[in-house]
């Protein structure tokens, strides 16, 4: 037995190498079935975990790239939506204007508001029409909602408009139904009021107020506003009447200058 043991230890490494050689020979000559089995096992144990990691990283990278692309597309789409909403609003305004007809003896000159001045309330606006477009001082301006104001100064290519919300502006008006007259003006803090309206006059909430044409600036029949509230205090000769202006002075964009039509 010892002889065998000595012989075995003496040729120990040769035994191992012969084993390795024989196994290799089996793999070389064994055909596809054996090699497929061995390579499948080796792949499953030593390749698959790393392949999954690699695939996950590649997939994450693709998702990241896709995410960036979609974020960019979202920003572009959002910008387009805002642009379309803006165009939709403009379209609605222009459609409303289409059905608008000027008072007799007047023609309409369209103008766009360049800027509006005033702290809490818009007091004046600058428009893109001037003396080169035959715009002159005291010409009234309207939009599809109603009276806006009048031109107070003119430059060659622009003009300044005093809005009805300016406390120094006055409009001679009348109640559309009763035809009784008064002065519309704007008070800071109160809003638009109808001044100088006698206490025994016929007026009620919701009445339409239009320009009377007596001031010499605004032609008759332009919508100024509607009556919000009427108070008839005792021992006072005039009513306290609050008006709701017809035009929205916070969103002025397209206006029309009333030009006297040439015969």
């Amino acid at each position: 037995m010892r002889w065998i043991s000595n012989l075995f230890s003496r040729y120990w490494r040769n035994v191992h190498f012969i084993s390795v050689f024989l196994l290799s020979l089996i793999l070389i000559l064994g055909g596809g079935r054996v090699t497929s089995l061995v390579s499948g096992a080796a792949t499953a144990v030593f390749y698959t975990p790393f392949a999954e990691v690699k695939n996950t990283v590649v997939a994450l990278s693709m998702v990241n790239t896709e995410n960036r692309r979609l974020q960019l597309a979202l920003v572009e789409a959002t910008a387009k939506v805002v642009q379309l909403e803006e165009m939709e609003g403009e379209n609605a305004r222009l459609r409303a204007i289409l059905g608008f007809t000027p008072p007799e003896l007047y023609t309409l000159l369209p103008a766009e508001v360049i800027s509006v001045s005033g702290d809490h309330v818009s007091l004046a606006a600058v428009i893109n029409r001037g003396s080169s477009d035959s715009v002159a001082v005291d010409q009234p301006l309207i939009n599809e909602q109603g009276l806006i104001g009048r031109v107070v100064s003119v430059a060659p290519n622009s003009a300044t408009v005093q809005l009805l919300t300016d406390p120094t502006a006055r409009v001679a008006v009348r109640v559309a139904d009763s035809r009784e007259m008064g002065i519309a003006k704007y008070q800071i803090g109160t809003g638009m009021i109808l001044d100088n309206f006698p206490i025994q006059g016929s007026i009620k909430e919701g009445d339409l107020i239009i320009s009377s044409g007596l001031g010499g600036i605004y032609p008759p029949g332009l919508v100024v506003g509607t009556v919000l509230s009427v108070e008839r205090p005792e021992e006072e000769p005039f009513c306290r009447i609050r008006l709701q202006p017809a035009a929205n002075f916070n969103s002025l964009e397209e206006l029309f200058i009333l030009m006297v039509a040439e015969p």
Binding site: W12, R13, H16, F17, V20, F21, L23, S24, L25, I26, L27, I28, L29, G30, G32, T35, S36, V38, S39, A42, T43, V45, F46, Y47, P49, F50, A51, V53, K54
Partner: protein, 161 residues
């Protein structure tokens, strides 16, 4: 514990074959990590485990090409045994000697691999792939030796930057 170390080396080969190999390739030159690992293990371990490790490393490295599985396993086992043979008979204490062994071993492995694959344009591949791959692998082995001998440390690398 010894077996765990060998399993770790085999996993390292799997990682290299699946992910690192393509990422680190320079033109036709690729790091031959399986051969490099077998040679490095042969420098520090005994003949018998190294022979088996070479055989298994060959199996793992060639798992993607089942038709050549046996040849690669045999080639790697012979390489491991030859490295042990050289280690026993030559003085490999110096860094240059170790690097020369790695360079020669990897180059021979690359050449025999080309023969086994029966690649067209053998002479061209010898220069563009086998030799450059051996040099590239030797550079990696050089970094390993520098780390192992403490000549290159993480602190030293950090101090450069």
């Amino acid at each position: 514990m010894k077996i765990i170390a060998y399993i770790f080396y085999l996993l390292l080969i799997g990682l290299h074959m699946v992910i690192v190999r393509d990422v680190t390739s320079l033109l036709d030159a690729v790091i031959n990590l399986p051969a490099c690992l077998v040679l490095l293990v042969a420098l520090y371990k005994d003949e018998v485990p190294v022979t088996w490790f070479g055989f298994l490393a060959g199996l793992v490295a060639a798992a993607g090409t089942p038709s050549r599985l046996g040849w690669y396993a045999l080639l790697m086992a012979v390489l491991a045994l030859a490295a042990c043979f050289v280690k026993e008979r030559l003085n490999l204490d110096s860094l240059k000697a170790k690097l020369l062994l790695v360079l020669g071993g990897v180059f021979i492995h690359n050449v025999v691999s080309l023969i086994i694959n029966g690649a067209d344009g053998f002479m061209l591949l010898l220069a563009t792939s086998a030799l450059t791959g051996a040099v590239y692998t030797t550079l990696v082995a050089w970094l390993f030796f520098l780390f192992k001998e403490g000549k290159l440390t993480v602190e030293k690398i950090k101090s450069i930057f």
